[in-house]
């Protein structure tokens, strides 16, 4: 066991280093912190214009890649509510992403079977609402299940959504739905969101990421967030202390699904075309990997994770043939060397420290 202890000690040191940085950051004057954040935000917005040499993607359009990264960030933030905050294992998150994308496609595209031709902006709230309903429908009967049962049921749900789309002519079947309108807005008579310029989509996506981060932050610090935390740490104890666990788990599912739906709506608005091919099981796995690699429960962490999952493969297109293999190996190495994620959640640091004390090492549910 001594190797194990040594390894745990190393982990603990690493975690301390991160929390040290965190302490340094929180001790900076408020004004300084604000200024640094503002500069970072501006730089982020300017990324596709600056095209910084090493960061830019040499083999594919940088702005489009950045946009894709923002959709992954949104999805990871939503999934983080479910997995990181409430501790519910969801392997079918792509289902909500698909519901969001299809809602926009169905209500906005003139070539869909209902063809209500609502503008994109009207469809986004519809997409969010429908995703939430889908989350509640899935959660209602299944949230009483324990962790791993939930995993396979959610995985099944993701596949049910995809296969229903493949097999329903009303949803465009395998061919999907084309000519989905783009987000609105015009500048000097030219549409802002055109086919050829991905930058405005990226800016919109980035803005939404900031908005969602702020919203999720508020929820996390509210009564709901504290209930999630209690459920994650010990569901039975939480129930005994008077937390209506089922209700809050359902909320976690619905809120997570809503963010996923928003991400899907963004995707549909940019791509102008959805088909079941865009929503395979593997995408759910990628989303989950983003959350866990980044650090489940930590907002900044999951964003870093999403960037790693969505950006790195495009940056290193040269390794295309072997990129999934490298990705798989990277997941193993990450799990071994940074089990708490790149940027761990503060609570989890405490958990780790707890376990250090607990010689036998009690399993902690996540």
């Amino acid at each position: 066991m001594s190797t194990g202890e040594r390894l745990q000690a190393i982990d603990l040191r690493r975690v301390r280093a991160v929390s040290g940085m965190r302490r340094w950051w929180s001790r900076l004057p408020r004004g300084t912190r604000f200024a640094v954040l503002a500069v970072v935000a501006v730089l982020l917005y300017l990324l596709p214009v600056l095209n910084p040499p090493i960061i830019t993607t040499p083999d594919s359009d940088f702005a489009t890649v950045l946009f894709t990264v923002t959709t992954y960030c949104l999805a990871a933030l939503g999934l983080n509510v479910v997995v990181g905050m409430a501790g519910l294992l969801d392997l079918g998150y792509v289902g909500f992403y698909a519901v969001g994308a299809y809602s926009v496609a169905m209500f906005a595209s003139p070539s869909s079977s209902i063809a209500t031709k609502y503008p994109w902006l009207v469809c986004v709230p519809i997409a969010i609402a429908l995703s939430m309903i889908a989350g509640a429908i899935l959660g209602g009967p299944t949230l009483r299940l324990r962790g791993d049962y939930l995993a396979i049921v959610t995985l099944g749900f993701g596949e049910i959504v995809r296969l229903s789309a493949v097999n329903s002519p009303g949803l465009g079947a395998a061919a999907g739905i084309t000519s989905i309108p783009h987000p609105p807005g015009a500048l000097n008579g030219q549409p802002i969101f055109s086919v050829l310029d991905a930058k405005p989509y990226y800016w919109l996506g980035l803005t939404l990421v900031f908005v969602v981060v702020a919203l999720v932050r508020n929820i996390e610090n509210s009564r709901v967030g504290r209930s999630w935390l209690a459920i994650r740490e010990d569901e039975d104890a939480a129930e005994l202390m008077g937390v209506p666990t089922f209700k809050f788990k359902l909320w976690a599912f619905a809120i997570g699904a809503a963010v996923g739906g928003l991400s899907g709506a963004m995707f549909a608005g940019k791509q102008g075309f959805v088909s079941p091919d865009s929503f395979p099981v593997l995408t759910s796995v990628l989303f989950l990997a983003a959350v866990v690699v980044g650090g489940a429960g930590n907002r900044l962490g999951v964003i870093v994770g999403a960037i790693a999952v969505a950006y790195l493969p495009e940056r290193f297109r040269g390794f295309q043939n072997s990129r999934y293999m490298i990705f798989g190996l990277a997941l193993i190495l990450m799990s071994i060397f940074r089990p708490q994620g790149l940027i761990p959640n503060r609570r989890r640091e405490v958990e780790l420290a707890d376990r250090k004390l607990d010689e036998v090492g009690v399993e902690v549910n996540a």
Partner: protein, 388 residues
């Protein structure tokens, strides 16, 4: 990952299966001049490139590599003949995924040297990428995406150098009724855009001869429920719209259950993988239709040149890729080195390619379409006859 394009990336080894057909008649007319217009050489520096857009890695790579080899051969031949005009070739490896397509299309558009694109290879990625190309005025000639609806989007830059599924479906139906004389046909599809689209055309063309339908899932390996249905229907022919992995397994399980109906499928099944999946002998007697010319029937010295360049015979759609690249090269040699000029050149192009007489109608479809029936004999796919 479980896309339905599986069948389109015909194994490179397609050539091996075509060897029988190939070896017998590869000594076709000499005079490589059949490749259009290596005219004047337009000695001026033509610092332009063509793009190849399709899967070069990943699950669907085989078909993309076939096409890429054909394109590269055309460009190499051109550059050899025109030392003063070296045309480049840029790869856009989409892995066949519609999600990766827009960023790559945008990248191609941002590169001012790229004046024409051979591809996108699949229908799904075409729908994601072609709107961008259309907006940017960058001409695309697809050598393999056969979804009929692609031509209905009003993309001025869209051209297709082979017959679409609306040509193949009725031809298959005609073959089933006229040649096979089948009166009871069971139609199966794989729910994919391609397979279901094609099967629906066949269903419509066959009319009352259809005695039963079923849809399977791609990736499925156990077709016992479908086979039971086929057996119960007493069909004398089975049409399958889809790709070779499922097609091969289906025909094998049919034979295993004692169903002797003739098995007819499409170009997505025209792949040695079909025979492998069927376990060799069970594939024999199957009919595969394809809007593609048997490679050895390709005009000029293409067949020999390809073999000399790559050490293997051209696979499915290699000749179409070669023709598509040559259309662009003819334009470049005629001094059409801007995207706009090249677009109007391609739209009004008329010339003899190795696969067919090439000219495009107003929707970008190639005017002359021939659908061939191929037959599996002794574990080889051999050309049977052209369907008129």
């Amino acid at each position: 990952m479980r896309q339905r394009h599986i069948g389109r990336f015909a194994a490179v080894a397609v050539a091996i299966a075509l060897a029988v057909a190939g070896c017998s008649s590869s000594s076709s007319t000499s005079g490589g001049g059949s490749t259009p217009a290596a005219s004047g050489g337009s000695s001026g520096s033509c610092d332009v490139s063509l793009g190849f857009f399709g899967a070069l890695t990943g699950q669907y790579a085989n078909l993309g590599v076939n096409i890429y080899d054909g394109v590269k051969l055309a460009i190499d031949q051109h550059n050899k003949k025109n030392p003063g005009c070296q045309v480049g070739l840029v790869k856009y490896d989409s892995q066949g995924s519609p999600d990766q397509a827009p960023a790559l299309a945008q990248q191609a558009i941002n590169n001012p040297k790229v004046v024409g694109i051979v591809g996108p290879a699949f229908s799904g990625e075409s729908k994601a990428a072609d709107p961008l190309f259309a907006q940017a005025g960058l001409t695309t000639i697809t050598p393999s995406a056969t979804n009929p609806k692609l031509a209905d989007n009003g993309w001025k830059t869209f051209f297709r150098i082979l017959g679409n599924d609306n040509a193949q479906g009725p031809a298959a139906a005609k073959y089933i009724t006229n040649v096979l004389k089948a009166t009871k046909v069971f139609v199966v599809d794989d729910a994919s855009e391609y397979g279901k689209g094609l099967a629906d055309v066949v269903r419509k063309s066959l009319g009352s001869a259809v005695v039963g339908n079923d849809t399977v899932q791609s990736g499925q390996t156990d077709f016992s429920a479908t086979v039971t249905k086929i057996k119960a229907s007493g069909a004398d022919a089975v049409y399958y719209g889809g790709y070779y992995p499922e097609a091969g397994l289906l025909v094998k399980q049919m034979r295993g259950a004692g169903v002797t109906a003739t098995f007819v499928s499409d170009d997505g099944s025209k792949d040695p993988g079909f025979i492998q999946a069927a376990g060799g002998k069970d594939a024999n007697g199957s009919i595969l239709t394809c809007p593609c010319l048997p490679p050895d029937k390709a005009g000029g010295t293409f067949f020999a040149d390809f073999k000399a360049a790559y050490g293997q015979e051209p696979g499915t759609y290699a000749a179409e890729g070669f023709d598509a690249a040559n259309v662009f090269l003819a334009g470049i040699d005629a001094g059409k080195v801007t995207r706009a000029d090249l677009l109007s050149f391609v739209a009004s192009y008329k010339g003899q390619g190795v696969t067919k007489q090439i000219s495009f109608d107003s929707k970008g479809e190639v005017s002359q379409v021939s659908v061939w029936a191929y037959k599996v004999e002794n574990g080889q796919i051999v050309a049977d006859q052209v369907i008129n």
